[in-house]
Symmetry: C2
Subunit: 156 residues, 2 copies
DNA sequence: CTTTCTGCAAACGATTTGCAGCAGC
DNA sequence: GCTGCTGCAAATCGTTTGCAGAAAG
């Protein structure tokens, strides 16, 4: 539902894989089937997924847990994926914002589910102002994170 | 913001301990020396601390790691402390916002250090508007989290 | 005294890593 | 063939938990 468009144009999912393949190659890595599958799953989710969730969706492929973790770590390193923290003990992963567009999250304290949430430019402008304030204090801001925590529709 | 505690008056540190003691008592718990020490350390830090940091500051008291974790968990349960997530693998703890006031964080990606950061009301108003949007979508927002990630003065 | 803490050590669970064999170019 | 990737199992590491003895009230 939240699989909106991101940057400039970017048409189909094909472009996504082309881009991912390029980023991996630049880093001297191969775009193996496992990695392709993991990217495919994240692209189709529209929200950050835990590793068990990624393995489940990709069930038919019998990808080893350790390989999935390894792949995700590498995808994060080359700027294709991002690790999302939801407060519970497990990490979640989503495609990097350079591929899906800047957004924030709604985190359910009950079930842990995380949904994407897009905010108006107005809000981001305010953030830009705060980045300035932080810079004046000697802190160089590279990114920001805004999450709203509460109860999702299922858990209310 | 945050679940308001009726006894959340801000003032001297004495008041802090009185308040903490009351909240624990209400929950049928005692304000033991260990818990007092942990609260004291957090109050003096002014930023979220990891468990090793808390134990270090409180070195002279030889508090067992497991007890510290247990105390912190309980303090979180009774609304005296809050667990802060900084992206790395360890949790950080700070006094609950009902005791210190609402604020956000600056997180250093390099050293992991987390600093408190207060934002103008203007910003919080925007957040309130977003909370409305989320509510319309069926998500009940109980709290929010805004962090700016980057390099602190030490690590630039 | 009775109930709630604490310390110690063992248990946990998510994530990481060493290694031998398989796949990609 | 090289080189990099995968599966398997063992190793990590922060955090949690079971218990018996030590405080708090």
């Amino acid at each position: 539902m939240a699989a909106d468009h991101p940057d400039a144009h970017e048409g189909a999912i094909d472009d996504l894989h082309v881009t991912v393949g390029r980023r991996l190659r630049v880093a001297g890595m191969r775009y193996s089937r496992s990695r392709y599958a993991v990217v495919e799953v994240m692209a189709g989710a529209g929200r950050p997924l835990t590793l068990p969730e990624i393995l489940a969706v990709d069930a038919g492929r019998r990808l080893a847990q350790s390989s999935a973790y390894r792949n995700l770590g590498e995808l994060v390193d080359v700027g294709v994926a991002r690790r999302v923290d939801a407060g519970d003990d497990r990490s979640r992963f989503e495609l990097h914002e350079s591929l899906t567009g800047h957004h924030h999250h709604l985190v359910c304290d009950s079930c842990g589910r995380v949904e994407d949430f897009h905010v108006p430019d107005e809000f981001e402008k305010q953030v830009a102002a705060l980045v300035e304030v932080a810079a004046e204090g000697g802190f160089r801001v590279d990114a920001h994170r805004f999450d709203m925590l509460g109860r999702c529709t299922e858990c209310r």
